[in-house]
Amino acid sequence: MNGVVEAAGVSKWYGEVLGLNAFTASFGQGITGLVGPNGAGKSTLFKLLIGQLRSDQGNITLLGENPWNNVPLKRRLGYCPEQNQLYGWLTGQQFVEVLLRLDGMPAAKARVEATAALKVVGLSNAAHRPTRGYSRGMRQRAKLAQALAHHPEILILDEPLSGADPAGRVHILRTISDFARDGGHVLMSTHVLYEIERITNNIVLIHNGKAIAAGNIHAIRALIDEHPHAVRIDTAKPRQLAQALARMDHVVSFEFPASDTLVVRTRQPDAFYRELPQIVSDTKLEVHGLESPDDSLDAVFRYLVG
């Protein structure tokens, strides 16, 4: 057992609900993507890794150590939770600074490191604004800044792209790639395979609390591509945006579930995510957020597990 993360037969119950079901996997160095639909067990696995939960069965280690109530191990990890709540009365700068000082950093050094981390995630301009006024994408970046500001060995990121706008996604993915390039390990969950494929081929598929596939994922990707992939876009002008997107020949359908929401189904998510920023820029339509409802992925997982 010498992986960054080693899990052997790990199970976790929430009463009668099974969060993880004899989960066995070994995650190596670099970036590992944990992909699965909502409720698959991704967050449960992460909470076990950061010591917020204790496994009911099996063994799990992070960087070779048992994470439960392991205080020294926390110096070596950076965690970005899925939830977007921050301490709203603190500014972004204060938020990162306070958490750095909990690492034992002197105030002056914490200030410098917090400023640098906020710059890395592209939040310098909003650093002195209270975080309660941040958009979802800005909150994601503030969470990422606090996770990497103390220079951890591993970043554990729970759905770090959820709700981020296109520019924010690019920034977040670039930050993660740079961290890994500099020798850090990253464990990142998503229910959107196409997002994570842009930065790694090293993927673990998780479904119903079990790891159902791991490693290079191209074969499974081919299966997934057969299913139209849904993307929900928050925009003030969904119909105008749909008109602009209709020129993509891989787009299958549009839905307008609310006056400010557009749901697009595409057979080529890669191409869609690649071309979208240019179209948004050309048409000058504002996009406030992107989400990928996981129903299409869920269908694929049901297909994969028979």
């Binding site: 917020q52 926390k74 110096r75 965690y79 939770p81 301490y87 958490l99 909990l102 002197p106």
Partner: protein, 259 residues
């Protein structure tokens, strides 16, 4: 152990907690309630009530301040310390830093104590000052009364806060449990014969206060303990409750939104 680093962490959590309690919207309600003694004395002075003096101050403050204001302010703030961070999903930010859970609970409790005393002490001192000024007396004339109330405020805040903190790590809806203990048990326990009243915080607060206040609700109250022993019991109780809270918190798992 690096004491400088430990002190730094203690200061950060304490400061974060007291600012959290004093900077969020809850402070409007708690500050208004904490100001009731001052508002009341100002009203009595403005209405030029003839019998308004230090005796009336004591008669009013025992039921109003000790049994309502103190309990409510400590309940609202102490139950927010841990439970609100769990509900708000901000706890993972603290729990993924190199600080032990028992230390986190202890430092948060200190932060609570600072915040609650900031809320409770100034209005109490000002209310006393208004009372003495209304009678044309100097601030130090009845200083023993002020010291008695200040001592019960500090010790009551510590004891109730520790008790409500313990409740908040034990149950998901600590406000309901706290209300039951704070406003039902603490109110009726004094009427129960035998040694049962000793199983309440208010018994020891009354004991301390009865050594300087012998009128109103404490008229004829015969304490079976010295003020020092009662204070010692409250301090020991507070420490025990914080240790128990830290122990329970150490074993707690935080599911939040399971994925």
């Amino acid at each position: 152990m690096d004491w400088t680093e430990s002190f730094r962490k203690a200061w950060v959590v304490t400061d974060l907690t007291s600012r959290y309690l004093l900077a969020t919207r809850r402070v409007i309600a708690t500050a208004l309630l904490a100001a009731v003694p001052l508002i009341l004395t100002l009203s009595l002075a403005a209405a030029r009530v003839a019998i308004f003096d230090i005796s009336l101050f004591q008669i009013l403050m025992i039921p109003l301040f000790l049994q309502v204001v103190l309990i409510f302010v400590t309940l609202v703030n102490a139950t927010a310390l841990i439970r609100e961070e769990i509900d708000d999903n901000t706890l993972p930010f603290l729990l993924t830093r190199p600080i032990s859970k028992p230390a986190l609970v202890t430092y948060k409790y200190v932060g609570y104590l600072i915040a609650v005393l900031v809320l409770l002490v100034p209005p109490l001192i000002l209310a006393y000052g208004v009372t003495e000024a209304y009678r044309g007396l100097g601030f130090t004339t009845d200083l023993d009364v002020l010291w008695g109330f200040l001592a019960t405020t500090v010790l009551g805040s510590a004891a109730y806060g520790a008790l409500f903190l313990f409740i908040s790590v034990l149950i998901r809806r600590p406000l309901a449990g706290g209300l039951l203990i704070g406003f039902v048990w603490e109110s009726v326990v004094g009427s129960i014969p035998g040694d049962v009243p000793k199983l309440s915080v208010i018994h020891y607060l009354r004991t301390i206060l009865s050594h300087v206040v012998a009128i109103g609700p404490l008229n004829g109250y015969a304490p079976d303990l010295s003020a020092g022993v009662a204070a010692g019991i409250l301090i020991a109780f507070s420490i025990a409750m914080v240790i128990l809270s830290a122990f329970v918190f150490q074993q707690m798992e935080f599911r939040q939104k399971a994925g």
